[in-house]
Amino acid sequence: MLLEINNVCKTYRGGVKANDNVSLSIAKGEVFGLLGPNGAGKTTLINQIIGLAMPNSGSITINGVDVVANPGYARQACSFLSQTQAPITGLTTFQAIDLVGRIRGGKKADVHRRAMELIEKLEMGEWQKTMGLTISGGVRRLVAFCMAAVTPGEIVILDEPTNDIDPLRRRALWQEVQELARQGSAVLLVTHNVLEAERVVDRLAIIDEGKVRGMGTLASLKEDEGDAMRLELTLEPGKAAPALPDYLQQPVIINRRIVGRVSPADIPTAIDWARGLKGDGTIEEFSLGPATLEDIYIRLVKNPDEAEPSGEVM
């Protein structure tokens, strides 16, 4: 494996435990998603990989090199899109991308060509000569992505890459992420956007309260859901949630949405119940389908005590 993280623990001064025995590994050419809610410990883990933070225990290696002891190796091996905005206030979009590409060791002509290619693919031409100070947050995020992708490291770390970006450019960005993996980089994608992650990752880990709650391919994680189907109800605005039947397993209510699992034997009953709710105006609509990554995520994050390591041995 290109990146190996073994039993990493990190507790900040003040006692906040950010990572609790985290282990995972990422291979070359793989898009690996690190999913979890805010404050789950994702960014702390990234900071330890690139040498901004130091684990209390455990090991992190890239190509077998101990990067806790040798953070310079990690900075060369990893290109990084930080969660905070990149400091490009006085630079134009092109200058920022070009400079980072060259700082990362790219040759002038190659970096120039690649920078223009990224600007074109992400439809950023109108901002090519615009100063960082005057562009919107979403465009700054795109620039920061290009800065990570222009001379990509063996590992490309993207911390919430699509925040503030419009849907069309998001799609182009995800294509570029997959292209980076095809070119041989390992992409470590940190996000809490489960729906987007589902479309691009090869494998993923769900992390919460510093612990890995589940890890594997999407298929292996879905297997853990068994034969149960996903029932989702959307309440009419202003309506209270109805009493939930016992056969609706692990129900979660988020705003107007009620999501739960229904075993195959209970599906006809559940459909009748949902139709009844729609008929009496309690719900706007309902849907029944196979489990999604969001279901797995919600189950593992909301019910950590039930979470078992899944997919792979951790």
Binding site: L52, S82, T89, L91, G105
Partner: protein, 245 residues
Amino acid sequence: MPKWLRGYLLMVKWVFLTYRSWLSLNLAIQLGIAVGFIYGISFFFPAITPEIAKYLTTGAPTLILLIVGLVMVPQIIAMARTEGTFDYIWSLPVGRMSHLAADATVMFGSTLPGIILAVALGSFHFDFSLSISPLVIPSVILMAMCGTFIGYSIAFLLPKPMMVNVITQIMSFAVMLFSPVMFPAERLPGWLQAIHTVLPIQYMADISRGTLTDLDVNLGLAFIVTGAWCVAGFIVTLVVVHRRR
């Protein structure tokens, strides 16, 4: 080209582009201060002699470099810390000290014209002659590095970036009014004189006078003390910028 030099030069470009609008303003302010300083002396001392003018004018480089190193550098670093700039810059494959060296180079470059103008204008306006030693270039670099490394140490050691503004305001007040740069140390109370025998400020002023004029100063001692503070500042900076959370 060695990797460290390439990284340093690219970081100089990055820092220059990042601060370019601020740098032109800083350059204009530094030049304005230089002119204002020379003409302002005449208001403080209406019957100023060329000898007194020489003493005051040659204190200007020290004062300017200390204000840049101890006030402006820490404030810029504090702002960058607040914005999370270092989390990004320090993830790049460039040595952290190379980045700071690039920062200091650009800062110093925008300050140098003001220093040269102050000294040249003072010499012309008050009609005194300069006696410029070949040591003047390494001396100015040493003084700039000394002030800057101390500034970096303060900026990174203080736990909260907001504290930097308060501390630097106090320091600028102390440097301007209670440090023997524009007047001899003998005019200070004994306890303050004692403090200044270990601080680098009066020695930096001595270096300035000893390399720009024929004024009699103990240049050897001045280089030793300023050099020692520079090394200490470098070591502290080296340690604090390589700390990991």
